[in-house]
């Protein structure tokens, strides 16, 4: 049922990535990994993915935010569901002072905090994939 779904993780912490990749692989997803936004984009352009799992604080700052914004500007990638997995939820508020703790600062679909319980991770991934499936059935 889920074995053909293609997931991409973009996160610069290889140990953390190992932790979530094992959970996703174990659930039958095909998971690729990029450790920076540049490689992430290269992967997104080389292959069709069903879901992106994106870290916020990468490299010299909030490179994950930049990546999410760029994705929404690319017609080919605009509908890709994005699950943010971040160290601190309010990091986002911290970067955008004066806004609510969980602002709709960019069109991401879901936000989780590290570390994430396996069941919760799988539940969110399933829900996002299901939502994307009903959103554009003609593509699949």
């Amino acid at each position: 049922m889920t074995e053909s779904k293609q997931l991409l993780i973009v996160d610069d912490d290889p140990d953390f990535v190992a932790g979530i990749k094992a959970i996703l692989d174990g659930a039958g997803y095909a998971t690729d990994v990029a450790h920076n936004p540049k490689d992430g984009f290269a992967a997104l352009r080389s292959k069709r993915y069903d879901l992106l799992l994106l870290d916020i604080m990468m490299g010299r700052g909030a490179e994950g935010v930049m990546m999410a914004r760029k994705i929404r500007k690319e017609p080919a990638l605009r509908d890709l569901p994005v699950l943010i997995i971040t160290g601190i939820k309010e990091q986002i508020a911290f970067m955008f002072p004066g806004q609510a703790v969980h602002p709709r600062f960019m069109p991401v679909d879901e936000l989780l905090e590290k570390p994430v319980e396996p069941e919760l991770l799988l539940e969110k991934v399933r829900a996002l994939l299901a939502a994307a499936g009903t959103r554009q059935p003609e593509v699949r």
């Binding site: 140990d15 953390f16 601190i88 990091q91």
Partner: protein, 377 residues
């Protein structure tokens, strides 16, 4: 002292002989010396070489020593200035000090006197620079604490915990009871550590203005319900009877639901921590026509009378809890700041051995007719 760090001293005096003797006295002390023969040249040189210490004659033709002091204070108040003059009077000394001079040297002076006063000025300058550096560091730390903490402390722990989650799943079928217990212990301790880091981070970055900006009409049943729910498991582990009672309809406050929930989580979490196995925690709300009081009452270990005045202070942590638990010492300090940002107050009553009751008092939110909701205090 290394060359790049050597103290730069600028001497401004209209008398060539004074400049020469001063430089002669200081030569060999490792300072970087420069001289100027009047105030205007002195100030120009000052811009160029940014000295640490300026020695200036008070009485000079053109720009006076007082004027030079004034300009230095405007340009860089951290420079240490010394004045010297042949017309030493108490009045001119006081006047020079008023304009920022660090010390005063009456002419004529001996080489030793000069060396001594310069050395003291160097010490002063070093202290000033250290203070500036420390202050800047503190500001930076404060500003970037959230990201520093998240990356340097939280990220490695999150990676460890994430892999532990996986390990637990992978090993579960084959693991013995003991092994599962050990994994569970590791998980709990790492979880506690993550929580502690988060609490410290929040303690530094409670943003009162942000809390005020986020306020809306909140029925107290919402934060109470969420807080009780999030601690249900922790209470169950200690077989604690955790109950909540809120009148119907629930009293409404003008508040920020997130931080109110967090405060209640904190108070109920403390109650769990300081309760014995099989204890009882009752969360309740009641309102009159002006205020809502939310009480968190436990029958746990209580607070010693001598500790009572300190419980809301930052970094104060009471005696270990019923199972040896200790707090971060920040939870109640943060709670008080949050509640005060809501125009409310927080208080505690306690009897050692019998239990504690924390009461949050918040102004009741009233919906005043056609103008819509009226923000509370």
């Amino acid at each position: 002292m290394s060359v790049q760090n050597s103290i730069k001293i600028l001497i401004i005096d209209d008398e060539e002989i004074v400049l020469e003797s001063c430089t002669a006295i200081l030569r060999g002390e490792g300072y970087d010396l420069a001289t100027a023969s009047d105030g205007t040249r002195g100030l120009a040189l000052l811009q160029e070489i940014r000295p640490d210490i300026v020695v200036v004659d008070l009485k000079m033709p053109g720009l006076s020593g007082f004027d030079v002091l004034e300009r230095i204070r405007e340009a860089d108040p951290t420079m240490v200035t010394l004045v010297m003059t042949g017309y030493a009077t108490v009045q001119s000394a006081v006047e020079a000090m008023k304009r920022g001079a660090y010390d005063f040297l009456p002419k004529p002076f001996t080489p030793d006197e000069f060396r001594l006063i310069v050395r003291r000025s160097v010490e002063k300058r070093t202290l000033v620079l250290e203070t500036i550096a420390l202050r800047r560091e503190r500001e930076l730390l404060r500003e970037h604490f959230a990201s520093i903490v998240s990356h340097e402390l939280k990220a490695p722990l999150a990676a460890v915990q994430q892999n532990l989650f996986v390990l637990e799943r992978e090993l579960a079928p084959a693991a013995t009871e003991d092994q599962r217990g050990r994994l569970a212990r590791i998980k709990v301790r790492i979880g506690d550590l993550l929580q502690l880091i988060e609490t410290w981070r929040r303690g530094v970055s409670v943003d009162i203005e942000a809390i005020k900006a986020r306020r809306a009409a909140v029925p107290v049943s919402l934060p109470i319900g969420k807080a009780v729910e999030s601690l249900a498991d922790a209470a169950a582990r200690k077989e604690i009877d955790l109950t909540a009672s809120v009148p119907e309809p629930a009293p409404v406050v003008w508040g920020d639901q997130g931080t109110l929930t967090e405060t209640l989580v904190n108070l109920i979490g403390n109650a769990v921590k300081y309760s014995r196995v099989g204890g009882r925690i009752a969360v309740s709300a009641e309102a009159d026509d002006a205020e809502v009081r939310i009480a968190v009452a436990d029958n746990g270990v209580g607070i010693a009378p001598e500790d009572m005045p300190l419980v809301f202070d930052a970094f104060y942590s009471g005696r270990p809890g019923a199972a040896g638990e200790r707090g971060s010492g920040l939870g109640l300090a943060i709670s008080r700041r949050v509640i005060e940002a809501h125009g409310g107050s927080i208080a505690v009553q306690s009897t050692p051995g019998k239990g504690s009751t924390f009461v949050i008092t918040l102004p009741l939110h009233r919906d005043d007719g056609p103008d819509g909701p009226r923000p509370g205090a």
